[in-house]
Amino acid sequence: MVLAPVMLDAIDRLIGWVARAALALCVAMVLGGGLVVCYGVFMRYVLNQPVTWSDELVGYLLVYIVMLGAAETIRRGDLISVDLVSERFGPRGRRAVEIVGMAAVFAVGLVLLKTGLDMLAFSARINLRSQGYLAVELVYTQAAMPIGGALIALTGLNRFVRAVADRPRPASRGGH
């Protein structure tokens, strides 16, 4: 690896900033989603005016929460793994597991990015809209897939490069 450590750290900080910004958005969405659900209950039981759009909206929010929140989960090393075998490895073995694992994360992120963009292109071409009350253009809800895929690929690549350069972030949380 020819990348200087200082450059690796700068990239890591930049990716950390992006991931935390995405996480902050997710925090707003989970709190907002909770309020939307409660608003639906209030309108149905107190004002007897059922809300027709709340179920559909929180479903879309969930897709964004997962796809945007994934980056920070990967960056923190919070991903669940079974370390039954790898905990017996020495530092080199664990580094190899980190390299292979993060290469896999990067590959999965790329697949979600590529196929997510294909999905968006298809939806945009035929102007696909949701079947529910919102009748929202699906490109807006489906955009979570390529955006999330890109973030997953980026954070996976960052940890992969750091592992190859032997400047790893803390390893994945063990046990589960």
Binding site: L23, C26, V27, V30, L31, G33, G34, L35, V36, V37, C38, V41, D55, E56, V58, G59, L61, L62, V63, I65, V66, M67, G69, A70, E72, T73, I74, R76, D78, L79, I80, S81, V82, D83, L84, V85, E87, F89, R94, V100, G101, A104, V105, A107, V108, V111, L112, T115, G116, D118, M119, T141, Q142, A144, M145, G149, G156, S172, G175, H176
Partner: protein, 428 residues
């Protein structure tokens, strides 16, 4: 044969130590490429799985639990249980099990239950002469109740994958959960009676008990609000989770006056991270389910089972044994998401009640949480106490035996799980 090869390959990849979601996804993508020569449509498969109103219950239940954890209500729950039963033989053990049962009904998570109750209960039990093994076992096993006693995140996931009723599953989990908790408590009393060093504390006075109950009253009111709303058809599971999160927020902010904006952010952040961690595995499992269906593996299993004339009982016993073995090595969410798409078509052909199977699965997954070498609650206890694994494992073994008996009883008498949902007119 292909099915076993695929499962074998998967287990090898998952045991390699790489993140479960990546291992499951990359294996599925590899098989998909072998079948179709490309990866087209994969984002659509994941999107369709995640865009599901029912699944919104999981982050909202996680948010409810986080508000209650951040407000440290668990100390009051434990104190209430403690004052009520501390004069019984093994009273602290019974209080630990009771606190786990109550907190399970708030948190919906076994790990959160063991972690939160364990921090209070283990030092207390040790202080009054309880053997370490007994303290570790009570918390590790009591914590597992989190996935059986509603609300339960794993139950929601199973319900979504199996297309079963979340409400019926939640109702069905209640009696088996309470019976298991009762069995754990009885074991604690017997074990304490055989340990001469354990102290039995004096009975709490009415005033002391009243004060403890009053402090815990708001937290104790949360499960009836959430579960009662669902049981009586007022809320859907997702609505119950949303209302529960709001109620937990109000309890933490107004009653406990301990929820500054920073802690609200932290609670929501932790709920998001928990959700993202679990749902990445769900996304990968969606790919796996898609590819095994494409390869006709569940259909082949159905054909094989039909050709062999396997009965529903034989199949269920075989599946439970396989899940028990998987549970020694994999964690609960992966087991639900990997096995359910494969066995579901057979369960339907054999006319097995999906709610009953769901409860059997949850009890088996409770075992997975405390069976070595990979049992999440064992690691939780190790993390809290810094003890070696040997006494922790010795402590949980009696509970493993109790749970296996409980699983067998539930298999023989499905009514234990199904009576309540059927009496409340939940369909299958």
């Amino acid at each position: 044969m292909t099915l076993f090869l695929v499962l074998f390959l998967l287990v090898i990849v998952l045991l390699s130590g790489i993140p479960l979601f990546a291992g499951l996804a990359i294996t599925s993508l590899g098989l998909y490429m072998l079948e179709t020569g490309g990866v087209s449509g994969m984002a659509q498969v994941v999107y369709s799985k995640l865009d599901n109103y029912l699944l919104v219950a999981i982050p909202l239940f996680a948010l409810m639990a986080q508000f209650m954890i951040k407000a440290k209500v668990v100390d009051d729950l434990y104190a209430a249980a403690h004052t009520a039963v501390r004069h019984w033989p093994g009273g602290l053990g019974v209080a630990t099990i009771a606190s786990c049962t109550l907190f399970a009904a708030i948190s919906g998570s076994s790990v959160a239950t063991a972690l939160t109750i364990g921090s209070s209960a283990i030092p207390q039990m040790k202080r009054y002469g309880y053997p370490s093994e007994m303290a570790y076992g009570a918390v590790a096993a009591g914590g597992t109740l989190g996935i059986l006693i509603p609300p339960s995140g794993p139950m929601v996931l199973y319900a979504v994958v199996a297309n079963a009723s979340i409400g019926a599953l939640f109702v069905a989990g209640l009696i088996p959960g309470l019976l298991l908790a009762g069995a754990f408590a009885v074991y604690c009393m017997i074990r304490a009676a055989r340990s001469p060093r354990t102290e039995t504390l004096p009975r709490a006075g009415l005033a002391e008990m009243g004060r403890a109950m009053a402090k815990a009253a708001w937290s104790l009111a949360l499960p009836p609000l959430v579960l009662g709303g669902m049981y009586f058809g007022v809320f859907t599971a997702t609505e119950a989770a949303g209302v529960g999160a709001l109620a937990a927020f109000l309890i933490a902010a107004i009653v406990y006056r301990d929820l500054p904006p920073r802690r609200i952010y932290e609670a929501a952040r932790d709920a998001v991270l928990t959700t993202a961690t679990l749902f990445l595995i769900l996304a990968a499992a969606a790919l796996f389910g898609h590819v095994v269906t494409l390869m006709r593996l569940p259909a082949e299993l159905v054909e094989a089972i039909t050709a062999l004339g396997v009965t529903d009982w034989q199949f269920l016993v075989a599946v439970m044994v396989v899940i028990f073995i998987l549970g020694m090595f994999l964690e609960t969410i992966s087991i639900i998401l990997i096995t359910t798409p494969i066995v579901l078509p057979v369960l339907i052909v054999l006319d097995v009640d999906l709610v009953w199977y769901g409860i059997l699965l949850m009890v088996n997954l409770e075992l997975a949480l405390i069976t070595p070498p990979v049992g999440m609650n064992l690691f939780v206890i190790k993390g809290i106490t810094d003890a070696s694994m040997r006494p922790i494992i010795r402590g949980v073994l009696p509970y493993v035996a109790i749970m296996i008996c409980g699983l067998a009883v539930l298999m023989v008498f499905p009514e234990i799980a199904l009576w309540l949902p059927s009496s409340m007119a939940y369909g299958r």
